[in-house]
């Protein structure tokens, strides 16, 4: 593979955004169609990743590696079975997001599109980076366009919401940055070379006491993004205020970055801390499932209802990640894709309602189905997908997650299964109040059903919803090897710690290269045997 | 030949006078002049020390200071003028846009 597909996929959007400088802001249609074409082309290119992906190997593929700043800071990208689908999800949803904002965004369209394209680059960058520094750069870079998207095109309380979102995330990423520095210096002390390559870090073993702190720093950064209880309060605000496309991307992709961060960084880098703190995180996730569901139940605002449902769903995904077995992790990744599609689509539906009535309050609706039968069908399918109806995508993910959790902890799985009931309650109750019943609001009588553009962006999602529910094989098979490798990564280290009785003082203040450690340890053994 | 110490003392006196004027006076122009006085006090000290030590660097610096002071006078007066146009006053008590 000589063509740097990953770099193209990552930087095509921002490169395209540069073209926008030369287009007059008056030419609205041209701007939108260009952005749409750029993102669509990017999606088509990213499909190459899927078709050329080798599902037999766990090592990263499409790797590109060049020196950048030096001192271990490299441009190093690559994907494996875990990140592949998250990249595809991003590229898939971008054209949808751009189509959905065609009507919604009525001012400063040029800047908006530039930000959206920048956002795409940032998100994909996060998923493909294999260098901690590069990862951090993309992680932060992605915040900037999101900050403006909510802050400029948002609703009434947009400034409050966007500041809250950015400050919350910044707080987490600051901790992560410190942790990265500490890792960097520990690595340098232990080996004498500079590196920020995560594969180098996979090889070293840290003092468990240090691990706990570093793990916490990473975990908080990712937990805020997911969000886990109690770091979730930025989410409803950001969702309610964000424009439709912003909400869609926030729910569908940005939240996944947290879960991805756990899988790629926090868990494999700090296996000992993982073991120690896992119960705590699992309990938080479990609380998240129930708490998010109960909160969604009583929301008076459609958008915050969907936002809280996100909290609940992400709780299930995280619990499944923390169950740490092949099925649970595969289920979690699959469920991330499902959640991206169905919750993204639910936000699109809410956006469509908002475009027609300019309200998010559930009470203002009622009986919309009669005016919008086609929309009603789409909306219902997405709701059913979100509540995990068998035959649609949500079910496959949900049952894999639950089974994975079950394998690790029966009680947790039984409690987590309550999401099956809760999600039905809040989603169907919402559907009943919004779409069914008699029409009470005069405005609804003038609602128009979906136009061609709106149908256009729903149809691909619907197809995927059914496809992923009926024939999930192509997705699950691709991630199998990578997930197993990841788990071995964690388990191998666990054995390293637990099975061979290690002299703990040996680890007090440095990280050890396993090779040197083994030599020394053998020496110790010899000494002991003598 | 007058001892350089006298020049230094003179420049110190002028400098302190400048400081006192700066803190006592309330209108910007006078304060501005006080700053000029302080600058010239510094110039005086430079010249005197140059003469005493016998190197030319001090004189170069004095030339720079004079140039900068001229430029500063131009900019400063322009700013004062603009402030006066806006606020109809150049008394410092009336100008506190930097208040937090």
């Amino acid at each position: 593979m000589n063509i740097p597909i990953l770099s193209i996929v990552t930087f095509l959007p921002i490169g395209g955004a540069i073209l926008f400088i030369f287009i007059s802001r008056e030419k609205r249609a041209l701007l939108f169609s260009m952005a749409f074409i750029i993102s669509l082309v990017n999606f088509l290119i990213s499909l190459l990743l899927y078709f050329n992906f080798n599902s037999q190997t766990s090592s990263p593929q499409f790797v590109e590696k060049t020196t950048w700043i030096g001192y271990g800071i490299e441009y190093h990208v690559g994907i494996d079975g875990i990140s592949l689908f998250l990249v595809l999800l991003t590229t898939f949803l971008m054209p949808v997001a751009i189509l959905s904002s065609w009507k919604y965004i009525q001012r400063r369209e040029k800047e908006y599109l530039i930000f959206i394209l920048m956002l795409e680059t940032g998100i994909i960058g996060v998923f493909v980076s294999l260098n901690l520094f590069l990862f951090y750069v993309f992680w932060e870079a992605m915040l900037i366009p999101m900050y403006f998207i909510i802050g400029i095109w948002g609703g009434q309380r947009r400034i409050y919401a966007t500041l809250k979102f950015v400050l919350f995330t910044m707080l987490g990423s600051l901790l992560m940055l410190v942790a990265i520095f500490i890792l960097y210096s520990i690595y340098f002390k232990a080996t004498g070379t500079y590196s920020l390559n995560i594969f180098d870090y996979y090889k070293i073993i840290l003092n468990p006491r240090i691990q706990i702190w570093l793990f916490l720093a990473f975990a908080i950064a990712f937990a805020i993004k997911v969000p886990l209880i109690p770091f979730h309060t930025w989410l409803p605000d950001a969702h309610v205020e964000a424009p439709t496309a912003g909400s869609v991307l926030l729910a569908a992709v940005l939240l996944k970055m947290g879960a991805y961060g756990f899988l790629r960084f926090a868990l494999p880098l700090f296996p000992d801390a993982t073991q120690r703190l896992l119960p705590f995180l699992a309990v938080l996730s479990l609380i998240g499932i129930l708490y998010g569901g109960l909160m969604a139940l009583i929301q008076k605002n459609v958008k915050s209802l969907v936002a809280y449902s996100s909290v609940s769903h992400m709780g299930l995904i995280m619990l499944s990640v923390f169950a740490l077995n092949t099925i649970s992790v595969e289920g979690a990744i699959y469920q991330m894709l499902n959640h991206g599609l169905s919750t993204g689509a639910l936000f699109l539906c809410v956006g469509i309602l908002y475009e027609r009535s300019h309200t998010h309050v559930i009470k203002d609706y009622g009986g919309v189905s009669r005016q919008m039968p086609i929309f009603s069908a789409f909306f219902l399918v997405f709701i059913l997908s979100s509540l995990g109806l068998p035959g649609l995508n949500g079910f496959v993910g949900e049952i894999l997650c639950l089974f994975g959790i079950f394998k690790s902890n029966t009680v947790f799985a039984i409690l987590a299964a309550s999401t099956v009931i809760l999600s039905a309650v809040y989603l169907l109750w919402m559907f009943q109040r919004v779409m069914q019943g008699p029409i009470t609001n005069e405005k609804i009588n003038s609602f128009k059903d979906l136009n061609k553009r709106e149908i256009c962006y729903f149809v691909p999602i619907i197809i995927l919803v059914f496809w992923m529910g009926i024939y999930p094989g192509p997705f699950l098979r691709k991630m199998d090897v990578s997930v197993n490798h990841l788990l071995k990564q964690i388990q191998r280290k666990e054995k390293f710690f637990t099975n061979e009785h290690i002299d703990k003082t040996f680890f007090l203040d440095t990280a050890i290269n396993p090779n040197t450690w083994k030599e020394k340890h053998q020496d110790n053994k010899e000494v002991n045997s003598q | 030949m007058i001892q350089p110490i006298y020049f230094i003392i003179l420049s110190l006196i002028i400098f302190v006078l400048g400081i006192i004027a700066f803190f006592i006076k309330r209108d910007l122009i006078t304060m501005f002049m006080a700053v000029e006085v302080m600058l010239n006090a510094a110039n005086l000290a430079f010249i005197a020390l140059t003469k005493a030590i016998g190197i030319i660097d001090g004189q170069i610096i004095v030339l720079f200071v004079i140039t900068v002071a001229a430029a500063e006078a131009a900019v400063g007066l322009a700013i004062i003028l603009l402030i006066f146009r806006q606020k109809k006053t150049i008394r410092t008590e009336d100008i506190q846009v930097m208040k937090g």
Binding site: L294, L389, V396, L400, F406, A413, G437 | -
Partner: protein, 633 residues
């Protein structure tokens, strides 16, 4: 030809797809043609496959057709594979035959509805889901059908969603079902965890090899049965079914009487190897079934809505089926399911015909004396009522008797007693319905009387066919009293239920049992005759004499209210409290407080910024002085 059985479910699916995509463009004629013809093709294939099944012999059961691997992960593998064996075959035949008749009937009943194609799209989709449910060869795929029928039930109950009560009822049905389904799902997880496969044959093998414990079987059995109490409307999750009568009547006949609600019974029969293994789970099923049978029957006594009486009667009859399964007489349970499908859908369709005739009126207090106006509906209804009451030589008699006999011979005397008492009640409320509707004084409103008419042939022909089945269906399983080898039905199912407990009793005892239950059924009929024809004022005096009992029954034991007060309200109120007091005040409050604390700290520092240039100069001077001082000293 039997190998084409796997195609059976896909024709209705195709029909549904076409109707969803193109339905709004097609004329009503085309819509009806597509909907009915797809079911008819399925029906034909079912009959062919059934004939083939009879030929191939028991050692080849079940026929399995794997279409593709559905969930391919290691450790949790589920195929999209269908199977065909006597149990599936009977269910498939019931679904397609009754389904076909109801599709035909619906073309008449729904003729005036503006969402005609939507209705048939749902109905076809339901048929598909139901066929998947009964033909799935593993429990996960069965769950697909299980939830799929729940979805269609939701859609069809809420078919007239503009009506608040219909939307409400649909949602209630789905959510109550979901509670059961969550338990069912956990049951599936248990099975996969301990057995490693969801294939029915694999579970059967695991149990016969003795690789699982009785405790496991009990836990799984109870969990799966909890799912069945939701779907089949048993205590404690029956509350959705009476409300489900908000849907169109043919839907009530098809989904909420003949097919979907009996899915739980089918599931228990399908998992008979598991339930036979766990006595506790079986006892629980029999007990819940018996309790529901009598409990629902008492509630049916006082209802005035013609469909609600039938709904409670359905709950009660399914209770009987569970008695059968619970006492180990799976084929008897299935037999009752099979006869019930005919006579109950007949009753519902006849009730629909009555409502159709009265412009949609369902209140029995506004009926009466309709016998002469509805010359076809009345006899059909009567046949259905006789069949369900267990009056000898109609289908219900054979099936109910099979269940009660087995309950008695297996020593479950308590269950048997309740079942027998239920027989009186059944006959009583059914004939109360008949007498109030078709006999006695006319209480029809004048407007309704203007439009009073017998239904068109598309509606009456299915009635006649179903009435025919209601009479003869029972002869597939004639008890041993009337001759050896006549019980074809249980012989046919024998290979599936090889583990069921079959205790044989002497013919004399069996005859006695049959006579007792027949006598009680006729007694119930006579009591109804006394109360509603001879002395129409009697029920009224009873209600005034025992107001407490009457009100308790009339308000359905206040169970809906109790659930509302015990579960729904605390959940909503509690969540609101948590949201307002914890989420907004404490969590979000902490966040906002941190922000504002930072802000006020900034404000505090701001006081240093006076804005007076002299203050700044002074600080500057002091700074310089300090710095110089530091340098010098």
């Amino acid at each position: 030809m039997t190998e084409i059985f796997w195609m059976i479910p896909f024709f209705p699916a195709l029909g549904s797809l076409v109707l969803v995509l193109l339905g709004h463009k097609l004329s009503k004629k085309h819509v009806s043609f597509i909907a009915c013809s797809t079911i008819f093709i399925s029906l034909c294939i079912s009959v062919i496959s059934f004939a083939g099944l009879l030929k191939i012999g028991a050692e080849n059961y079940p026929l399995v057709k794997k279409l593709f691997t559905w969930i391919p992960t290691h450790g949790f593998k589920a195929d999209f594979s269908l199977q065909f064996d006597p149990l599936s075959a009977i269910m498939v035949l019931i679904v397609t035959v009754v389904g076909f008749l109801i599709h035909i009937y619906s073309t008449g009943y729904m003729a005036e509805d503006k969402s005609y194609s939507r209705y048939f799209a749902y109905l076809n989709l339901f048929t598909f889901a139901m066929l998947i449910l009964v033909m799935a060869s593993n429990i996960v795929l069965m769950f697909v059908g299980w939830e799929g029928v729940g979805l269609c039930s939701y859609l069809l109950i809420g078919f007239w969603f503009e009506k608040h009560s219909a939307a409400q009822a649909g949602k209630k049905a789905f959510i109550v079902n979901r509670i059961g389904d969550a338990a069912f799902l956990i049951g599936i997880l248990f099975i996969f965890f301990h057995i490693g496969s969801g294939e029915f044959t694999a579970i059967n093998t695991a149990i016969s090899r003795g690789s699982i414990s009785t405790g496991f079987a009990t836990v799984v059995g109870i969990l799966l049965f909890a799912g069945a109490t939701g779907k089949s409307a048993q205590i404690p999750l029956y509350v959705w079914l009476p409300d489900a009568m908000e849907g169109p009547t043919p839907v009530s006949a098809f989904i909420h009487a003949a097919t979907m609600v009996t899915a739980g019974v089918y599931m228990v029969a399908r998992m008979n190897f598991l339930y036979s293994f766990s006595g506790t789970a079986s006892h629980i099923i029999a007990f819940i079934g018996a309790l529901t049978a009598i409990y629902a029957a008492t509630m049916a006594l006082t209802q005035n809505d013609i469909k609600r009486v039938l709904a409670y009667s359905t709950i009660s009859q399914i209770g009987y089926m569970f008695i059968g399964c619970g006492v180990g007489a799976y084929s008897a349970g299935m037999f009752h399911l099979y006869t019930h499908a005919f006579f109950k859908s007949l009753l519902f369709l006849a009730a629909g015909s009555v409502m159709h005739a009265l412009s949609g009126e369902a209140d029995m207090r506004k009926m009466g004396g309709l016998k002469k106006y509805l010359p076809i509906t009345y006899p059909a209804f009567l046949i259905g009522a006789i069949a369900i009451s267990g009056i000898p030589f109609f289908s219900g008699f054979f099936s109910k008797d099979a269940i009660l006999t087995k309950a008695f011979t297996n020593g479950q005397y308590f269950v048997w007693t309740i079942g027998v008492l239920g027989t009186i009640l059944t006959a009583f409320y059914m004939f109360r319905l008949i007498f109030l509707t078709f006999h006695g004084k006319e209480r029809i409103t004048p407007e309704a009387k203007m439009l009073l008419h017998e239904s068109p042939p598309v509606m009456t022909v299915p009635l006649v066919i179903l009435a025919f089945f209601s009479v003869v269906a029972g002869y597939a399983g004639v008890p041993a009293v009337f001759g050896k080898k006549l019980d074809w039905f249980s012989c046919f199912l024998q290979p599936i239920f090889s583990r069921g407990r079959e205790v044989h009793v002497s013919l004399g005892a069996e005859l006695a049992l049959i006579l007792i239950s027949s006598f009680l059924a006729i007694l119930g009929l006579y009591l109804a005759y006394l109360s509603y024809i001879k002395r129409p004022q009697f029920p009224h005096t009873f209600a005034t004499r025992f107001p407490f009992i009457y009100r308790l029954l009339y308000n359905k034991y206040y169970v809906d209210e109790a659930y509302d007060a015990l579960f729904v309200r605390p959940l909503v109120r509690g969540s609101e409290q948590i949201y307002n007091k914890f989420d907004l005040k404490i969590i979000d409050g902490a966040v906002n407080e941190t922000a504002s604390a930072t802000g006020s700290f900034g404000k505090l520092i701001c006081y240093l910024q006076t804005g007076f240039i002299k203050d700044y100069a002074l600080v500057f001077l002091l700074g310089v002085a300090l710095f110089l001082g530091y340098l010098l000293f």
